[in-house]
Amino acid sequence: MAIHVEYFGPATDVTHKRDDLITMESYPVSLNKVWSWINEKYGTEFGDYIITACNIALNTEYIDFDKEKPTLAFDQVQVKDGDEVVILPPVSSG
């Protein structure tokens, strides 16, 4: 088991894949740790894009965070083994 991170739309132009499975040494971890993992793997420019332009959902529920100080909220969100973290760029249906 692991944490499942899903990417959509323009985010996949950076990741070149739909998802990642992240294995942590112990669970639960904070969302901050997952965000740091994404920054390390894809670079801080992508991490900044997520913060400034995207929404984040945990198991389909949106995470509320301050774009100026996202880590304050991320530290409070617990992510467990088997959870899904979703990166949602600005939507563009129609």
Binding site: F8, D13, Y49, T60, V91
Partner: protein
């Protein structure tokens, strides 16, 4: 609301349905006439239909095709909430509604999004359909890619932020 996905006519339809509401996502061509038939209602004097179709060009560049992807579970929940809100917030003047969005490659001139609803009078119907469409474009977890002969572009408020 029924379970999803539904296998029908060889395609997977991700849908939610009750007596007055149908919302679905499909990789197949949208069955426009079926949607219109569903919303017809004995108390309705109007059926409003909106079909969003794919254009051949964007800012002078020829579009080969449009391609859509969705977080299916989240998008269906959002579409269901929009459909439910359309009926609940119009004081019994909207009777039935269908919202559908197509996924995958959509050839030029075919529908990518559909709203059909029935209303007691036409003025409420027009307004409700317009509001529903705005809500869909604002919040449904769906992404549009315009494929050109050379390269592609994701649409959205932060278009090309990463390029």
């Amino acid at each position: 609301m029924c379970d999803w996905p539904i296998e029908q006519e060889g395609y997977t339809w991700y849908g939610l349905k009750n007596d007055n509401i149908v919302v679905f996502l499909t990789y197949a061509e949208i069955p426009v006439q079926k949607c219109i038939e569903f919303v017809k209602h004995g108390d309705a004097g109007a059926v409003i239909y909106f079909g969003g179709t794919t254009r051949e060009t964007f800012e002078g560049r020829e579009v080969v095709h449009l391609e859509y992807e969705a977080h299916i579970k989240m998008a269906l929940k959002t579409l269901r909430n929009i459909a439910t809100n359309t009926i609940n917030s119009n004081h019994s003047k909207i009777h039935r509604i269908v919202i559908c969005h197509r996924l995958g490659v959509v050839p030029k001139k075919e529908e990518s999004v559909l709203i059909a609803l029935s209303s007691t009078h036409r003025d409420h119907g027009w307004r409700a359909a317009e509001e529903a469409l705005e809500d869909i474009k604002k919040s449904a977890e769906i992404w549009k890619k315009e494929q050109y002969f050379k390269g592609h572009s994701w649409k959205g408020s932060n278009d090309n932020y990463l390029q």
